[in-house]
Symmetry: C2
Subunit: 292 residues, 2 copies
């Protein structure tokens, strides 16, 4: 079951930190570019991404419960890119990691069903992110495909980008934020679980107050993007956790995978490992301090 596995991994590795694998051309080390790029076509780029991801996973697998793979960066290079998306998830599984396919899909029921089956029937995918804009009949096919807890969902509630306030923070006529209405919708799918629901949410790490409100309201795990590169700080992000220190996954992508540039380290895998260790220490320190 999704939650049981996740809690076991987090406890064993003493890490609620998720490695995001979002490769771009700009992210690639020169030595990989020299090795892979001759014509510079999609196939070569995809092979380079695969080599990069593989090494990042090898260096970080002992320290993370979970990888998050953002499909956009693979779709960018069409079929050869998408092949690496699936291969990366397979490899993560092979290394004993849990996986989040960050796909943010959302559509009307019949279409949502196709998305849900496409991703959640894949044995290498433990959970996916979804977009709530269509309302409950667009979310239900995803919920159904989690089969009562075998797999997990993370539904977008409050995103980490600056413009998220434009729509998500609109005040509704009864004085609530729009994103709270979305959280109500998430709640309605949570079911009855003694510990955590497998129906979780996404709440950006750049919003301390929102995290506080939502942690109280929601019974699933909160996936928190935005640590590091996007400006989310551990002292704010800790509010995504319950007082016992569980209930959230904190994700960093560029902060980990591009760390080699910051420290002038040729071994990008090792640099990622160092960065992830720093991140874990930072987050755990704040969790231990406790929340007000």
């Amino acid at each position: 079951m999704f939650i049981e596995k996740l809690l076991r991994e987090i406890k064993q590795k003493k890490s609620p930190c998720v490695v995001g694998l979002d490769p771009t051309l700009e992210m690639m080390p020169d030595k990989l570019k020299r090795k892979f790029l001759v014509k510079g076509d999609e196939k070569e780029i995809a092979q380079m991404f695969w080599q990069f991801n593989k090494e990042i996973i090898d260096y970080t697998a002992e320290l993370t419960p979970c990888i998050k793979v953002q499909i956009a960066f693979y779709e960018r290079f069409s079929l050869p890119g998408l092949e690496v998306f699936y291969k990366t998830l397979d490899y993560g599984k092979e290394k004993g990691l849990m996986t989040i396919a960050d796909v943010k899909r959302g559509d009307i029921g019949s279409t949502a069903k196709a998305y849900a089956q496409g991703f959640l029937k894949n044995p290498s995918i433990d959970s996916i992110t979804v977009n709530p804009y269509f309302g409950s009949d667009g979310l239900l096919p995803f919920v159904e495909e989690t089969k009562g807890g075998e797999k997990g969902l993370f539904i977008l509630v409050k995103t980490s980008n600056p413009s998220s306030k434009e729509l998500q923070d609109l005040i509704t006529e009864d004085g609530q934020f729009f994103y709270e209405k979305v959280a109500d919708l998430v709640s309605s799918f949570e079911g009855d679980f003694s510990e955590f629901s497998h129906i979780g949410s996404v709440v950006g790490g750049t919003h301390k107050e929102h995290l506080k409100r939502l942690r109280k309201k929601l019974k699933g795990f909160i996936l928190v993007p935005g640590y590091g590169a996007q400006g989310g700080k551990a002292e704010d992000i800790k509010y995504a956790f319950n007082t016992d220190g569980f209930g959230a996954l904190v994700c960093s992508s560029r902060g980990i995978t591009e760390y080699y540039k910051k420290i002038g380290e040729e071994n990008y895998g090792l640099a990622a490992q160092i960065s992830l260790k720093n991140m874990i220490a930072d987050i755990n320190r704040e969790i231990e301090k406790g929340v007000e």
Copy 2:
């Protein structure tokens, strides 16, 4: 340019009707199942979908300005499926059709940029659908990739599913529907065009009153799903058009591609053509009657 091409095609074919290619196993005619399915694996299914799509396009290309290809139904069968998604768009282009990749992507800026480039740099894709939930910095990379009108966007405003009311029809503190706030956001990207903006919207054909409001507000084309199978009627959908009879694209998928089942016709391509002709007549009749 996107709008010029689209208007030319609509006028020449006297058809604002879009064929949606959303293949499912249930949709497939028995003769194709017998021909293609031996092991029943993803590759065979994908080949069957390709054969099906190709024949539908051959029979309908003279009657539609545009095909809409919903990626979920291809992602469902991973890489072999996605190959057919791209091949279908290529084939549509080859037959002189315009294309909408119905992908409904949406994410934070850097990720949105990867999606935008992945789809809109593809010469076989004229336009895509996008999800507005992230706000303007999530939409901007898509707008930028349209290059001031070479390509088109359709931003979700009001969707055709019953539950769309749960979030999209929430009333904000100034008395507006939430979806109207989304429409304001769409407006902010429209730019200054004498006829139509290439930044369009998606508004379900099941909402006459919403269509009326939004047609007045928006300067782009409105893509209207929901005709037929989902219950949208021509007498309601006509409100998506301006008084001169232009400004909307009406889409039907199952209503066209599954019509062969309804009339007991083995030739599913011919059946699709008949259904599309009926749809065009139905829509044009209502447009000619004019709006109140």
